[in-house]
């Protein structure tokens, strides 16, 4: 059976692929897509934690459905908020890409250096 370690390593792989793309690409849209990949990796980690990790309070009360509910589904609630923030982020990010393309006629991040000094 694939366990917690499998999911965490998979989420780490996806996160690092996203990090590599976000740091090394010149196209703004690719950078945004890589940031989305990083969000996805974090979401996988949160959901797998909620499925496999037991807080001490659950192990102390193995038959109390209320306690298990509140502490076990926290990871899924966090994943839901990560998805919300990612949706807001991609809307604003793509608006910035469109605005920069309209002004500069380019989506190259290495050319956008006005705020460098």
């Amino acid at each position: 059976m694939p366990g917690l370690e499998h999911y965490l390593v998979l989420s780490g792989i996806v996160f690092c692929i996203g990090l590599y793309g976000a740091l090394s690409k010149r196209n703004m849209i690719t950078v945004l897509m890589s940031v989305e990949l990083m969000f996805t990796g974090v979401t996988i980690a949160a959901v797998s934690m909620s499925r496999y990790i037991a807080p001490a309070v659950v192990l102390a009360n193995p038959n109390d459905t209320g306690i298990i509910l509140n502490s076990v589904l926290t990871g899924q609630a966090f994943a839901l908020f990560i998805i919300t923030v990612a949706a807001a982020e991609v809307a604003v990010g793509l608006a910035i890409v469109i605005a920069a393309y309209r002004i500069r006629k380019s989506v190259d991040v290495t050319e956008l250096s006005e705020m460098r000094y």
């Binding site: 390593v9 690719t30 459905t65 589904l73 608006a95 469109i98």
Partner: protein, 170 residues
């Protein structure tokens, strides 16, 4: 059928990794955006295997349905055919940093002493919680995270207003 679940897991995991590698690797931005959609679609399979059915549907609706389309729209609006998808000067440092981070993550995951949930035997309280995650997630969200839900509504509204202001013609 645990063997069947193992086969499904390895197929889905290979799909996630390959599709996300293609997002970085492909020269054509449009195809890269399509592979981003494929990555999100395979993550839906992971969520179903993790008994997060509601999150799987949310992922399908928001990521596969909305964010991928938004990215494809942006690719088409700003398309630079001869530019492609080049690397900047930071390619080797970026690869070093992300490989080191991945090695650290794998080492930390392998060496940590996790406290795991008991097995999902039928009739146990944990089985009850994971048997109907959609209703239970709704209960948790509207009790413990009600304030966070209100704040995320404000966040989404401000994101919409910000996007409109940014792309408005002056």
């Amino acid at each position: 059928m645990p063997a069947f679940e193992v086969i499904v897991w390895y197929n889905v995991a290979a799909g996630v990794v390959l599709a996300s590698l293609m997002v970085i690797h492909l020269k054509d931005l449009f195809k890269a955006a399509l592979f981003l959609a494929l990555t999100f679609l395979t993550v839906v399979g992971l969520f179903i295997l993790l008994r997060a059915e509601f999150l799987a549907v949310v992922q399908l609706l928001i990521y596969v349905g909305a964010i991928s389309i938004l990215v494809i729209f942006a690719v088409m609006l700003t398309r630079d055919v001869h530019e492609g998808n080049p690397f900047n000067r930071l390619r080797m440092p970026a690869m070093t940093v992300s490989s080191l981070l991945l090695a650290t993550i794998v080492y930390a995951v392998a060496s940590a002493n996790w406290t795991k949930l008991p097995e999902l035997t039928s009739g146990s309280a944990i089985h009850k919680v994971f048997g109907d995650t959609t209703a239970n997630l709704g209960t948790v969200l509207l009790n413990d995270y009600a304030l966070a839900i209100e704040i995320s509504a404000v966040l989404l509204v401000s994101a919409i207003i910000g996007a409109i202001v940014l792309v408005k013609e002056r």
